[in-house]
Amino acid sequence: MNYCPSCGTANRDGSRFCNECGHKLPSKTGIICPMCSHMNPADNMYCDNCKARLVPLGPTGQPAAPAGASPATASSAAPIKKPLSLPTKPAEEPAPEEPDTPPESVAQPEPEADEPNWLVRLRAAAPKPSEKRPTVEPPAPQPSSSQEIPDWMKPAEGEVPDWFQRLAEPASAQPSEPESVQPSEPEPQPEEEGLPDWMAQLRPAPAAPSASQTEEEQAPDWLTTFDTTPPASSGAASEEELPNWLKGMSAEPEAPAPAPPPPPSMPPPAAPVAEEEPDWLANLRREPLETSEPAGETPDWLMAVEEPPAAEAPAAQPAPAEEVPDWLMGLRGPSQPEPAAEPAEQVPDWLIGAREQPEAPPAEHPEAEAPDWLSRLSGAPEAPPEQAEAPEWLMGVAPAVGGEPPAPATQTPAEEVPGWLRDFRIAEPTPEAPAPSPATPVSAFVGERAETEEQAEVPDWLSEAARPAPPAAAPEAPAEPVEVPAWLRDLGPLPAAAAAPHPEETPFGEAPAAVPGEFPEWLRGQQPGQPTPAFADESGRTLTPEATTGLEAATIPSWLQALKPPEVPGEAVAAPHEAFVETEGILAGLASVLPAAEVMGRAQGAPASRNVGIPAADLARAGVFGELLARGALAPTVIKPRQVAGSRVGDVVVRVLIALLLLVVAVLPNSLGFASSFIQLGEVDAGLYKPAADQVAALSEGQHVLMVFDYDAFQALEMRPIAEAFLSHLAQRGARATLVSLNPTGLALADTVLSRLPEEVALDVVLAAPIYYPGQAIGAQRALLDNPADLLVVLSGSPDSVRLWIEQVSAAGLHTPIVAGISAGALPQAQPYVQSGQVRGAVAGMVGGLAYQRALDPDLDAGDSGLDRVVRTESVYVSQLAFALILIAGMIVSLITGSRQAG
């Protein structure tokens, strides 16, 4: 049954809408058996399939009642709806364990049919237990599907993006070293359809067929899109695809832009691998960028970066201030002056700053022309970082490009450095830096994990990135020209004044004073090593990190502390849940699963809580009840019916008195003889015997009469006068009678009647001894067929016998006239047959028999025998009258007493 959540009406399974209220029905309401997962109705206590218990027992051992149910309405209320229970694995189903097979087979079971999709995907995405996870994992949420993880984020199979690897190489390394590339397989290109068109167009043209092809195969798309070729005149078409914030960027002339300095967060580039490194990135470190750029591939904002300022102004589209990020503003080359039409907020400061540094020779210090973060990335000596502008956590992680270890004062407070970043402390690749310091941004991701036993698992690219770039490494001119994006070309070498950046300058350009919110003031003016100054919040309050409670040191949660790698090198500490791989259940094969055994064990071991929230009033009543039980006041007692000694005697007396009354009434008329003064027997209604007498009188001598004796012994006294009268009348007519009976006792009664008749009468009438015919209806038909008669006389004390003989006569097709001698009690039910003519006449009761006898012999009442007959008849009348009166009196007394008891 499916129960409506709105009205609770039970609906047939499969119904979609409630038949009562029309509410949409859920797919199924009921209880899923935890053993066999069979769906049962909600009100089932046991499963219909496996007979497992569905409703748990309560604390008292009784079935737990559902919420809101009351015992009084349990039977009449609507069916109780119970929530669905999650299917669980049956206990008898063993876990698939094969000792010979590797653990992967256990860790990766076959997905069951009823497993949710997310679980299947998790299982598929879960790495095999034998695989070792890379040491470095970005603290990003785990994607639900492996397909959703960008390839550039996955250091799968030890591969490192080449561009990233090259970033870690020193600037003097040759760009073209394909052998150093670890994986021979190109990295899987990320899905390009996810990239905006403007980014897709930023694809660098291949400088060398082989190298560039390899680079593009291995470099992620979003980096390969940074095309080094200057944009053509198809900037207008590209403008349509550019976001608005980029459209504001004026086209830059295709001037060779100096290689921007590497970003400070990036590690010093390692040995460059030319065929795997994007051209633009290589050029950032070594030589000016090329000016060639395929037409139509560079958006206008890049063109604005490369083209001369004259061409930039008309072509540039002023972009809204909020759409041009500052970091992009700062990427503008030194050769392009800021367009006057552009608002200040449209040009990122970092780009502006880059433009102001055209004097720096790109060959000598290509990295110096680039923003600080970029210069740091290449490892070239760069100007001191904009520590006044960058957040301290970033500054603390990425110190000056020169590899100077940060001063202790530069160490940011613990509360300002994210924990995940704090853990990734800079490794100490060289002895010159005794203290592990975050020399490069890349090394920040290495952290101390590199020192653990997972260090062997650290990809080379990452370990190399941790290596601080040699300060003395001077950028060398690349062996082959590399295409650099125009916007990077415009950056040019940083001017000398850029070495000492303006205090207000940030690595991303000038402080956008006119753009509130991008950098808080406290951060803008923050200098490395300086304590956080007081700052004002939105409401204008002056806050200090020490004064505000909100900025006080926060408590590191335990789970976060657990992520902290141990300080002892070589000690591998993994979170318990990370090292645990579930081996059974529906989560088998998945790692990072909370160990169910521990939890379940704890739950099983924990004692059941007895605090069920019983109200105090109920507890008080229970206490009283307990006291009563203790005292024995409520001991079960046998309730015996109250016995009154006199009641039994009284009942007997009443019964005896009634019986004596009846006896007196029956005997007294017989004894005193006064009944004749009350009843005149001669005045008996002739209708009680005359029709029957006429039928017998119509017989002639020698005709045959079939006489049936079908009455019982207790009716003998009443039927005897009737029988005697018939026999006497038959004797007078000279007819012969055959006495039959369908009952064995009828033969004896017939003999009794014959014994009271004069002997000559009996011998003349009766032909033979009475005959017994068994089988009721069959015997009656047999008797009629064996004894054809001119008259049928049925003497019966019940109407059934009369009806039976009447029916058999009709069924046999006989037309024998029927006369009946019946008791007074059977007369009403036999009257319809008399009225219908099927019975020609009937003699009813003793009175009718006596009257029939008097009619045959008027002198019969004379003498003693006559008196006896009269008294006897009158006594019967009186007795019957008295009995009726007594019966009526008893009914009245019963009604009165009954009404009194009911009231």
């Binding site: 017989n670 209806a777 009447i806 009690g825 006896d868 019957q880």
Partner: protein, 223 residues
């Protein structure tokens, strides 16, 4: 005063002792009544049926060639009767109980046929015709009295409503059938009451006549 009278008198007292309470004499009287009745029935069945209709014709099997038609007929009936009786007795044993199926079926079938035919021809049709004719004063034999007509109509109504009470006993009380069934039940209550009253009166008559005989024994007329 013969022995039978005194036995009867004693049994009468024993039965009347039930007025006080259930006792041994009463139980004895009841057992004697049932036992004697059963014994007498067996005796009659043996003397009236088995001996003359089974045991007597069977020896004629030994002289089949000299049998008359009547004797042969009696013999055939006797043989079939014996076989039927034996098969009927097989019902007492589970393994051969299937043998009595034919005998039981024959008995039930013949009895049902005879009873149904007689009921149809002897009661249903004649009584229906008689009930219809009694309401038509033009039919000869019917009563012209208004009272008789009303009584006949009342009898017809009582018959129909009594049948409805049995046939539609689950009808709602307030529906037409429910009301008609209620009237029929009333007539049935009256009929059952009258039957009980007649039985009671008949018993009273028997008691009165018996007490007359007892009185005459103890107090004969004329001293």
């Amino acid at each position: 005063m013969d022995l039978g009278f005194w036995i009867g008198f004693g049994l009468t007292i024993a039965v009347l002792s039930y007025l006080i309470r259930d006792n041994f004499l009463y139980r004895l009287a009841m057992h004697i009544l049932i036992g004697v009745g059963a014994a007498y029935a067996v005796a009659v069945a043996l003397s009236q049926v088995i001996v003359p209709r089974v045991l007597t014709p069977l020896p004629n099997l030994l002289r089949l060639q000299s049998l008359t038609a009547q004797e042969l007929g009696q013999l055939v009936f006797a043989v079939f009767g014996v076989l039927g009786s034996v098969f009927l007795l097989a019902k007492l044993f589970r393994r051969v109980a299937w043998l009595g199926n034919a005998a039981v079926g024959y008995l039930l079938g013949v009895g049902a046929g005879v009873a149904i035919g007689g009921a149809l021809l002897g009661t249903l049709l004649p009584q229906s015709a008689s009930a219809t004719a009694s309401l038509n004063s033009a039919v000869p034999g019917s009563s012209n009295s208004v009272i008789n007509l009303l009584v006949n109509l009342l009898a017809l109504a009582a018959t129909v409503t009594a049948l409805i009470a049995f046939a539609y006993s689950r009808a709602a009380r307030r529906s037409f059938l429910g009301l008609a069934g209620g009237a029929g039940r009333t007539f049935l209550y009256i009929a059952f009451g009258a039957t009980f009253a007649l039985v009671f009166v008949a018993g009273a008559s028997v008691l009165s006549g018996w007490l007359r005989d007892v009185f005459l024994v103890f107090f004969p007329p004329g001293g």
